[in-house]
């Protein structure tokens, strides 16, 4: 006969409530671990889905994610010519926040060369971008339907396809448009601004006595053309040819002085060590605090439930029960509670994690480690109760 189970059966309401409470706590611990892993996955999502070997950015910057980087689009031709580079493609990134149905609607807009790479990693519905302009592929998390329109910059963009889970390092869902569109959205001035600028250029040139009106007109056109140009990108990504040496290619690009070629490994370090380090530490700290709280709660529960059973324990001793009977009762109850609470927490997160605002990544390793920790906590906590139980005198059963 299992005394632990009999006691639980008799006090099942209390046991279930306690286990659920503890389960919720462990659920939070599990979700924190999942958010922690999710931070990594999010931070690296664009980096991973681009599948580039080298990210060429503005010199002296940690761009394009951690810092802003602006380089001319046409550098892609030079990069393509570097020995060892197979492909090079320009990308532009910007975070956009607009109002949608009265609510702030944030997403991460990626502009890519539809003839290059760095576009949507997969199309789960609809199709990829085919037209040069005004088409858009959005991540599922944007909850937009195919055919839906959204106004960005000066134009309306139509959703033609849905891609999977691509997010910015901040966790905002991604949307893809053609590079030209992205540049328009990012850099194109509206007509008022253009008119103002042209006027200012004209007045400035007119003030210079030494140039003729015809020269001034020519210069004005040129200067306006440069200021209105949108041929800027945030990075140019490159893929290496088979057998090419990463360091050699990086070395060659570095020599140009104006650009910094960042390898995927370096980019990963910039993203994980720099950008999400604090959040990561914060989450780690919370997990530890929550585990300590769980340990204290488990120990308290076991201890008070042992105190509740002092008379039972004394009676068992009185009738000559072996210590193992008493130790078994306390230890099994403790383990069972930990076990059930763990699976309540796990089940809860399993059922809900898809709906969390941030990505939760559940890794088997994390779950196993937590399980071992919970079982260890339960075992150690039950020592407190067992110690108390072993000190109980059989005579304590006599008190009337």
């Amino acid at each position: 006969m299992n005394l632990a189970l009999r006691d639980i059966r008799y006090h099942r309401g209390r046991f279930i409530l306690t286990s659920i409470g503890l389960g919720l706590l462990l659920g939070v611990v599990i979700s924190m671990g999942g958010i922690y892993r999710g931070l990594f996955a999010d931070a690296l999502a664009v980096l991973d889905s681009t599948k580039a070997d080298i990210w060429v950015v503005q010199q002296n910057t940690n761009g394009p994610f951690a810092e802003s980087s602006r380089i001319p689009e046409d550098i892609k031709y030079r990069i393509k010519l570097v020995p060892g580079v197979a492909e090079a493609s320009p990308l532009s990134f910007q975070t956009i926040q607009i109002e949608k149905m009265g609510k702030p609607f944030r997403f991460f807009l990626i502009g890519y060369d539809t003839n290059g790479f760095g576009g949507p990693p997969e199309i789960v519905a609809g199709r990829n971008i085919r037209q040069k302009h005004y088409e858009m592929v959005v991540a599922k998390a944007m909850k937009m339907d195919i055919g839906e329109k959204i106004h960005l910059g000066l134009h309306d963009y139509t959703v033609v396809g849905i891609t999977g889970k691509v997010v910015s390092s901040g966790g905002d869902p991604a949307a893809y448009v053609s590079l030209a569109d992205a540049q328009d959205i990012q850099f194109k001035k509206d007509n008022d601004a253009i008119r103002n600028d042209r006027e200012r250029i004209g007045t400035n040139l007119a003030a210079i006595q030494s140039i003729s009106p015809s020269q001034a007109k020519y210069l004005k056109q040129n200067i306006a053309g440069i200021t209105e140009s949108t041929h800027t990108v945030n990075t140019i990504v490159a893929r290496l040819a088979p057998g090419a040496n990463l360091h050699e290619v990086q070395e060659l690009i570095s020599r140009w002085n104006h650009f910094r070629p960042i390898s995927v490994e370096e980019q990963t370090k910039i993203l994980t060590k720099g950008m999400i380090e604090k959040a990561r530490m914060q989450l780690g700290l919370f997990r530890i605090i929550l585990l300590v709280i769980s340990a204290v709660i488990i120990a308290l529960i076991i201890y008070t439930s042992t105190l509740d059973k002092i008379r039972v324990i004394a009676t068992l001793k009185l009738i000559g029960s072996q210590n193992r009977v008493i130790i078994g009762m306390i230890l099994q109850q403790s383990l069972l509670m930990g076990f059930i609470a763990y699976f309540i927490g796990y089940g809860l997160i399993l059922l809900t994690y898809e709906n969390f605002p941030r990505r939760i990544v559940l890794e088997a390793f994390d779950l196993q480690v937590l399980f071992v920790i919970v079982i260890a906590i339960c075992t150690i906590s039950s020592f407190v109760g067992i110690r108390k139980a072993l000190k109980v005198e059989p005579a304590e059963a006599l008190g009337g």
Binding site: M1, L3, R6, D7, R9, Y10, H11, R311, V312, T315, L316, K317, L318, I319, G320, S321, Q322, V325, E393, P394, A395, A397, L398, G399, G400
Partner: protein
Amino acid sequence: MDKAMYAIEVENLTKIYGKGDSAVTALADASIQVKPGELVAILGPSGSGKTTLLTCIGLINEPTHGKVVIDGTTVADGGWHGGIDLKRMRREKLGFIFQAHNLIPFLTARENVMVALEINNFSRNEAKARAAELLVSLNLGHRLNNYPSALSGGEAQRVAIARALANKPKVILADEPTAALDTENGRNVMILLKKLAMENHSAILVVTHDHRMVEGFDRIFHVSDGRIDTEKYNSES
């Protein structure tokens, strides 16, 4: 080994609680012998040392001086006898019945009896069968699956008796088993104990302060101020 002549032998037993100025001599130089199958009562006012005597014999309370022999095994001789396994003696040789029935609240009547059997290595099925059989014989057949909280005082006390008897112990110790019961139920419990002593050939030592309850006992000892004064034979033994 020869069958022990006495189930209980107590010689010059003294129990002193505490030390120095606050020392209380609860029991002084008590001697008593009980044969197997004998039904013996200890009568005395509250505080006279009855429970102390019973707990010293029951291996719950360590005697200060004197000797205690249970079924031929010396368990105490000026303190516990060296190497004695008290728990084992308690579960194999002794059965306890108390004023407060001391049933385990989260076990049913039947399971309460089963515990005493299972710690004595009865298999689960044997324990189950024997517990039911015992409870039926004590007119508790309809209460097998009830928790103690659902039992009347008399029923609970009979379950406690079943538990004490389950392993057919050589010695049954009962401390005021009728105190929590009305006269009618109290008398029934005593009649039951008498019957069981006969059937099981166990020595039964019953402590009480109510002399109306001890009719038909083989012997009655009176205790006052920690001393066993008189021994009165009810019948020949």
